[in-house]
C-alpha cells in the first residue's frame, strides 16, 4: 500500500499560508508609490538630458532617431580669435533643441551616436503631463535634467571597457 499522499489542494494552501506569514513578518514586496520611492538603476533610461555646452548642432542624433522626434536648429557665427592677429574662429550655436517625449521610443540611439558627449540618460521618470504638448521638452528643460544624471558605474571584472565621465 502506497503511503497516503497529501492532497494537492492542502499543499497549495500551505504555500499561500507560508507567503502570508512571510508578508506579515517581513513586510510585502511592494511599496506605496507616491510615499515610498524605489530608486531606479543608474543605467535606467528615464529621460534624455542635454549638456548644451558640448552640443555642436551636428544633427547626428536627429538623423539617427528611429521616429525622428528630435528637432534641432542652429547657426554658425564667427568668434573673435584667441590670440591678437589670429583668424576669427567658426563656432556653432544651438538655437533650438527639442525632444518630443510623446513620440520618443526610449531606444537610446541618440545618446549612443552623439560624438561630443552632449546627450545622457537620466533615470528620472516623473515628468508626466496632463497635456500631451507639454511633453515636448526644449533645451533649457532638457538641460535641467542634467543634475540628475548619475555617474557611470564601474564595470564587472574581466571587462576591457573604459569608464566614461559625465561632464558637470
Amino acid at each position: 500500500m502506497p503511503a497516503p499522499k497529501l492532497p494537492g489542494l492542502v499543499k497549495g494552501l500551505g504555500v499561500t499560508l507560508k507567503t502570508m506569514l512571510r508578508t506579515l513578518t517581513r513586510g510585502s514586496h511592494t511599496v506605496q508609490y507616491p510615499k515610498v520611492k524605489e530608486a531606479p538603476t543608474p543605467r535606467a533610461r528615464g529621460v534624455i538630458t542635454l549638456h548644451e555646452d558640448n552640443c555642436t548642432a551636428c544633427m547626428l542624433c536627429a538623423r539617427e532617431c528611429p521616429d525622428w522626434c528630435i528637432y534641432i536648429e542652429g547657426h554658425k557665427y564667427k568668434a573673435p580669435p584667441r590670440r591678437p592677429g589670429g583668424k576669427p574662429r567658426q563656432k556653432n550655436a544651438l538655437d533650438r533643441f527639442d525632444i518630443d517625449f510623446s513620440l520618443c521610443m526610449y531606444c537610446g540611439i541618440c545618446v549612443e551616436v552623439c560624438p561630443f558627449e552632449a546627450l545622457f540618460w537620466s533615470p528620472e521618470f516623473e515628468y508626466s503631463e496632463p497635456k500631451i504638448a507639454d511633453l515636448l521638452h526644449d533645451k533649457s528643460k532638457l538641460g535641467q535634467w542634467m543634475e540628475t544624471v548619475p555617474d557611470f558605474q564601474d564595470y564587472e571584472s574581466g571587462s576591457e571597457a573604459k569608464k566614461a565621465k559625465v561632464p558637470r
Binding site: P7, G8, L9, K11, G12, G14, V15, T16, T19, H29, P40, T41, P42, R43, A44, R45, E64, P66, M105, Y106, C107, G108, I109, E112, W121, Q153, D154, Y155, E156, S157, G158, S159, E160, A161
Partner: protein
C-alpha cells in the same frame, strides 16, 4: 432530424445558420460565439470565432491582425541599428530574445563575429528573457483556470529578473542592447552576484508552483488529456518550442541549431513530455525555467574577459546578400530572413515568429472540445499577441 454526434453535419448547419442569419429549426441551436478581440480570457486582442453546439465547439477560427503594426515594412525604411528598437516590441515579454536572431543574421551578412565575452553575455540575457517570459506563463496558466494566486507570485518574481535586465541594458521591457558585432555596453559591477541571488528566487518560485499548481487536483482535472496534439499533427502545423516538445518531439534549436550563441558549451538537457496535452505543455515550460536558471548560472561563472564589441564601421552598411537565422526563443522558433542590397537599410525583412504558427493549430485542436477547455487550451498554447501580428 439531425443525428446528434454527427459533428461534421452539425458544423455545416451551424455555419449555414450563422452565416445566412436565418433561423433554422434544429434540435440543438447552433451558436456563434466571439471570444475576443476584447475578452478577459484572451491576453491581447486575439479573436476566436467559435461555433457552438450546446457546450461543444464544432468549428473555431482565430482571427488575427487586430494588432498588426507592420514591422516588416517599417524595417525597410530603418537602418540596421534602428531595426532592433522595432523588433524589441514583437514578443514584449522576452524582448531581448527578439533582437538576437536579427543581429545574428546581419552579422552573418557582414561576416563579423561578436567577441566571446559578448556572446556569453548575450546568451545569459537571452536565457534571462526566457525566464522572464515563461515565469509569467506559469502564473497566467493558473489565472486562466481560475486560480488567482499564481499570477501574483509570477509578477512578484519576474520583477527581480526584469530589474537585472534593466541594470544591464537600461530598459525593463525594451532593452535594445544587442549590436551588430557585440553589445552596447559591458556588465556593471556586482551584477553577476545579484543575478545569482535572483536565480535562487526563481528556483524557489518553481518549487512553489510545483506545490501550488502542478499537484492541484482541479488543475490536473482541467488540463490532463485536454487539447492533445499528436507529434505528427503538431509538426505539420509548424508548432515549435515547448508546444512541440510537450508532444514528445526532441527538437531544440539551442542544441540543434548551432548559431552564434554558446549553448553548446553548457551542460543542460532538453525536456520533453510524451503526452502532448495542456498539462504537458505547462510541465515542459516549468522544467525549462529550471533548466534556464542552471544555464544562466553556468554562463555567469564562465564569462571570459575581453572586449564586448568587435571592430565594425561606424556607419553600418551591410553587403548584398541574403541570410536566414532562427533561434529558440521563449515562445518557439523565431527567425529573420534578411535581404540586403548593400544599403544602409535592409531591402526586405521577413519575420518568422513562433506564436503565429502556434496559434494556427487552433481550428484543428478546438474542434470537438468543450467551452471551458477552450480557455485552458488557448492558455497552454501560450501566445503573445505582438508575436502573432507583428
Amino acid at each position: 432530424m439531425t443525428a446528434l454526434g454527427d459533428t461534421r453535419q452539425l458544423a455545416y448547419i451551424a455555419g449555414q445558420a450563422s452565416d445566412a442569419r436565418v433561423n433554422v429549426e434544429l434540435e440543438t441551436e447552433g451558436m456563434t460565439l466571439n471570444i475576443g478581440p476584447q475578452h478577459p480570457a484572451t491576453h491581447g486582442t486575439l479573436r476566436v470565432i467559435v461555433k457552438l453546439d450546446g457546450e461543444r465547439v464544432v468549428a473555431a477560427e482565430p482571427v488575427m491582425g487586430y494588432m498588426h503594426r507592420g514591422y516588416e515594412k517599417l524595417s525597410e525604411v530603418r537602418t540596421y541599428p534602428q531595426v532592433t528598437t522595432l523588433v524589441n516590441r514583437i514578443d514584449w515579454l522576452g524582448s531581448f530574445a527578439n533582437e538576437v536572431p536579427f543581429i545574428l543574421a546581419a552579422e552573418r551578412l557582414m561576416d563579423v563575429e561578436a567577441p566571446p565575452r559578448a556572446q556569453w553575455i548575450r546568451t545569459a540575457l537571452f536565457e534571462l528573457s526566457r525566464i522572464a517570459n515563461v515565469v509569467l506563463f506559469l502564473g497566467d496558466m493558473g489565472v486562466q483556470l481560475g486560480a488567482v494566486t499564481p499570477v501574483f507570485f509570477a509578477f512578484r518574481d519576474r520583477e527581480f529578473v526584469l530589474n537585472q535586465i534593466e541594470a544591464v541594458t537600461g530598459g525593463r521591457f525594451h532593452p535594445n542592447f544587442d549590436r551588430i558585432g557585440g553589445l552596447k555596453d559591458d556588465l556593471p559591477k556586482g551584477w553577476i552576484e545579484e543575478t545569482k541571488g535572483v536565480l535562487g528566487r526563481i528556483r524557489t518560485f518553481c518549487d512553489e508552483m510545483e506545490d501550488l499548481v502542478t499537484g492541484n487536483e482541479i488543475f490536473q482535472a482541467r488540463t490532463r488529456g485536454i487539447g492533445v496534439i499528436p507529434a505528427d499533427v503538431g509538426l505539420s502545423y509548424g508548432l515549435s518550442g515547448a508546444n512541440i516538445r510537450a508532444s514528445g518531439v526532441d527538437w531544440d534549436l539551442r542544441r540543434d541549431g548551432g548559431v552564434g550563441l554558446v549553448h553548446d558549451q553548457l551542460d543542460w538537457k532538453v525536456w520533453t513530455h510524451p503526452d502532448g496535452d495542456s498539462f504537458a505543455r505547462y510541465w515542459v515550460r516549468l522544467q525549462e525555467v529550471r533548466e534556464a536558471c542552471d544555464m544562466v548560472d553556468q554562463l555567469l561563472d564562465g564569462i571570459p574577459s575581453g572586449p564586448v564589441m568587435a571592430k565594425v564601421p561606424r556607419i553600418i552598411k551591410v553587403p548584398a546578400g541574403e541570410a536566414y537565422v532562427e533561434t529558440e526563443n521563449p515562445l518557439g522558433v523565431m527567425g529573420y530572413y534578411v535581404v540586403s542590397k548593400g544599403d544602409l537599410v535592409p531591402y526586405r525583412v521577413k519575420i518568422r515568429s513562433a506564436s503565429f504558427n502556434n496559434i494556427s493549430i487552433t481550428p484543428w485542436l478546438l474542434e470537438g472540445t468543450y467551452v471551458p477547455d477552450v480557455i485552458s487550451i488557448l492558455a497552454s498554447l501560450y501566445f503573445i499577441l505582438g508575436d502573432i501580428d507583428r
